[in-house]
């Protein structure tokens, strides 16, 4: 497996190689952005060993959850938990 964690790009330097600061729920670290050239500040990326390896697509992220929420009993279960 490969520990990969989503975080938000909060700064990018455009250097060689391009580096940026990624925020992981309040914890921030330098990350190499060379493999996500399309990513901009505000985007979320999956970070593995200090490299962004994938841009997270919010629409797909939402769709996955929507599919699960559409399962029978899902809404009740969620409401039940939040009660």
């Amino acid at each position: 497996m490969c520990l990969g964690i989503p975080g938000e790009i909060i700064a990018a330097d455009g250097g060689v190689p391009p580096m940026g600061t990624v925020d992981f729920g309040g914890v921030r670290r330098e990350v190499c952005l060379v493999y996500t050239p399309e990513a901009v500040v505000g985007d979320f990326v999956v970070v593995h060993v200090g490299f962004a390896i994938s841009l997270i697509r919010p629409d797909e992220a939402a769709r996955t959850l929507a599919v699960i929420r559409a399962l029978p009993g899902a809404l009740e279960a969620e409401l039940g938990v939040e009660r």
């Binding site: 497996m1 490969c2 520990l3 990969g4 964690i5 989503p6 975080g7 938000e8 060689v16 190689p17 992981f24 729920g25 190499c32 060379v34 493999y35 996500t36 050239p37 979320f44 999956v46 593995h48 060993v49 200090g50 490299f51 390896i53 994938s54 997270i56 697509r57 919010p58 797909e60 992220a61 769709r63 996955t64 959850l65 599919v67 699960i68 929420r69 399962l71 029978p72 009993g73 899902a74 279960a77 969620e78 039940g80 938990v81 939040e82």
Partner: protein, 362 residues
């Protein structure tokens, strides 16, 4: 954390479990390929909650655990050289070689340092121009682009004191080897999401078709895995065998082409030995000839080191799902977590270690 916490929702997890129970009519056997997936399954106890009879076979584990003894022994030999700064991800430090591990080398005076990123090793080489800095490049396809970039950076900076000990593995050939096995009991795969984030999932399409096996690319959170299991079971119940992408938020069919280019530039595909599985053609990466100057194996002349795994180990059968650890003659006696003979006892995510920690006896 966004894109993490929402996929850990217990209520939705229970919904998925309920749907899974409603869907599964037979005791299907699936394999999750990646140690990260195993980690979540075990840590959350998901395998306990699956429909009766349904079985998750833990896959080759993490790349760390399948690193062959020989590579560990070579790493240890290099790290023990006076003057060398040996850098590695933290995981590798505890993996036992034939005689000892890298932590032991460090304790005996070797300069072994944990890095979080391969670029940290390059920075160290810049900071310590008088000393050879070696990076232990292990990992699946997920890690290879990062390690490739370290070589490219070292070349760009003209570093002559940086080299890499490469022991990279590729996932699809290992899946093929499992499917090819005569005694294979795995009926469907959860493919590793982060490997696919880099490589895409085209490579799985011929596998799914040829072996008539569903393959679902999943993420690593509980909802990801449960949805992945559900998708695979739905295929099995309906006799489909496709590749599906549960982890679409991070994985494209073509993967990350920039990362693939860097890998292709720096590495070449080669036959590779997997600890506990054996030799698999085209399942590893070595440094491409044009980057031979950065090859620690050549620089430190450690070719002579060869190590053999213990013949008593039946890890292959366990990985294929055709045996359980308590059927192994070495289990609990010659082979324990303190003295592992094979990969499934090396990692706590390994099936043998999990059995041992749970106190199961032969």
């Amino acid at each position: 954390m966004r894109y993490l916490d929402e996929y850990r929702d217990p209520a939705l997890a229970r919904t998925l479990l309920a749907e899974l129970c409603a869907t599964a009519t037979r005791p299907w056997t699936l394999m999750e390929v990646c140690g990260g997936q195993t980690h979540t399954l075990v840590r959350q106890g998901i395998d306990e909650l699956l429909p009766a009879g349904m079985r998750m076979v833990h896959g080759p584990g993490c790349p760390v655990c399948v690193t062959p003894l020989q590579a560990i022994d070579r790493a240890i030999a290099i790290a023990a050289r006076p003057g060398v700064i040996f850098t590695s991800f933290g995981d590798m430090l505890r993996v036992p070689g034939s005689e000892r591990d890298l932590l032991g080398v460090k304790a005996s005076g070797g300069d072994v340092r944990v890095v979080y990123s391969p670029l940290d090793a390059v920075r160290l080489a810049v900071a310590e121009p008088g000393r050879p800095v070696v990076f232990f490049a292990v990992g699946f396809e997920t890690t290879a682009p990062a390690n490739a970039m370290a070589v490219l950076e070292a070349a760009r900076l003209g570093l002559d004191n940086f080299s890499m000990l490469v022991s990279h593995v590729l996932v699809p050939p290992a899946m093929t080897a499992i499917l090819e096995s005569e005694h294979n009991e795995v009926q469907g795969f959860l493919a590793a999401g982060h490997v696919c984030a880099v490589m895409g999932w085209r490579a799985y399409e011929p596998l799914a078709a040829k072996y008539r096996t569903p393959i679902v690319v999943t993420g690593f959170e509980p909802l990801d895995l449960l949805e992945g299991i559900l998708l695979a079971v739905r295929q099995l119940e309906t006799s489909r065998c496709e590749v599906e992408n549960q982890y679409a938020r991070a994985v494209l069919r073509d993967g990350n082409t920039a990362a693939q280019h860097a890998m292709a530039e720096v590495f070449a595909v080669a036959t590779r030995y997997w600890r506990g599985i054996g030799s698999i053609p085209d399942s590893g990466l070595v440094l491409a000839e044009r980057y031979a100057a950065f090859d620690a194996e050549r620089r430190f002349d450690v070719d002579g080191l060869d190590a053999a795994e213990d013949p008593r180990c039946i890890a292959g059968a366990i990985l294929r799902g055709s045996a359980v650890p308590t059927e192994c003659g070495a289990y609990g006696t010659a082979c324990t977590p303190r003295h592992p003979l094979g990969a499934p006892m090396v990692s706590t995510e390994g099936t043998c270690a999990a059995f041992h920690l749970a106190g199961r006896s032969r």
